[in-house]
Symmetry: C2
Subunit: 191 residues, 2 copies
DNA sequence: CAAGTATCGAGACTCCGAGTATCGATACCT
DNA sequence: AGGTATCGATACTCGGAGTCTCGATACTTG
């Protein structure tokens, strides 16, 4: 088994349920949209019972967040300079959001978080904070600048996805890079 | 409760229902959040019956869109040059989204639209298109560039609102203006 | 003033999804 | 083989979106 099996209590172990549920979540969201992707349908697509899903995640939102975390994986932070890092991060986020189901799931859970403080906390702590901290370290930028960077990149991509139902095209992603990089260039930038 | 019989427009039984419902929508969303702001609660806050709301708007999403349209009003497009127009538009959107209830309502209906093509059509046609056309005319930019501008401005502001629950602070709005304006400056810009 | 009419208010109703609870079945570890 | 925790199935509560009916009301017109 390639995964690190830490302390495993006796009893029936967890078969590869999480991976199956993640895949089923994305495909169901992709086929039916976020609202019609009910937990019951996701569970059925994964071949597990709804109660199994709720045993592993406290809410639909938490499931989606973990699913997104799995879909994004580690951020690509290896670059020659800050511009290269930022560019590769933007392309990575755009590419991942463009994968089937990811954009819908992201926009959906993001909207749910608007009126659900508990979900907002999950979203912020489990999804945004790890990438934010890694970016602060890689770019040497203060927290508020990195938060602004994330607002710009993710906000633009999600708005396009939400308004049109389609991921952003390459030419607009290029425009996004060309707009963002000068603003974050080193030197006499704004505080 | 006292039946406040104030100004009555001509026609059959038409009271100033729309305005009362719009105000009740924003205050209810502001107090309870988007998800808890049910149509029943909004109607109660407006002093009307739920059936009255559904007689005037086909869905909760359509009500929110009309409410946002009322909250934003006409775009401020009178400026000396393109930079001034874009700057005033950005500040106007930021200021309006920062008004109580508007940001929550916007982010909420936006998220609903992700998985509801009919609502997405309403949102795009009734809210985005009029402003987009006015901006194309005022800025002399092609459609895809104005759509990108809207994606940037609205996407960033909504992402901040959704992630933090608070509107964007003035210093970050200033940073947004400083990032966007050079990209749309006239001259040897990208196609 | 009276009649006509369209909207309003109240509330019951259906539909559906989130999340909970129960219990027998099962698959893994020791 | 046996112990044990998870799994599957299923029934359940709760709440909101949207529909429908009907009596009440308020406005317009003769």
């Amino acid at each position: 088994m390639p995964s690190t099996a830490s302390a495993r209590p006796p009893g029936r172990p967890r078969a590869g349920v999480n991976a199956k549920v993640f895949a089923a979540t994305l495909s169901t969201v992709h086929e039916l949209g976020y609202a019609r992707a009910t937990v019951e349908r996701i569970a059925a697509a994964a071949g597990v019972a709804k109660s199994t899903v709720y045993r592993r995640w406290p809410s639909k939102g938490a499931l989606i967040v973990d699913c997104l975390l799995d879909a994004f994986g580690p951020a690509p932070l290896e670059g020659a300079d800050r511009a290269e890092i930022m560019s590769s991060v933007i392309h990575w986020v755009a590419r991942t959001i463009g994968e089937p189901g990811v954009g819908d799931a992201f926009a959906g859970v993001f909207s749910d978080a608007v009126s659900d403080p508990a979900l907002r906390e999950i979203l912020s702590a489990r999804l945004q904070d790890p990438y934010r901290l890694a970016l602060q370290d890689a770019l040497g930028e203060p927290e508020h600048r990195v938060l602004f960077f994330i607002d710009v990149v993710v906000g633009v991509l999600l708005h396009r996805m939400g308004m049109t139902g389609e991921p952003m095209v390459d030419s607009d992603i290029a425009a996004l890079v060309e707009m963002v990089l000068p603003h974050f260039a080193e030197g006499p930038g704004p505080t």
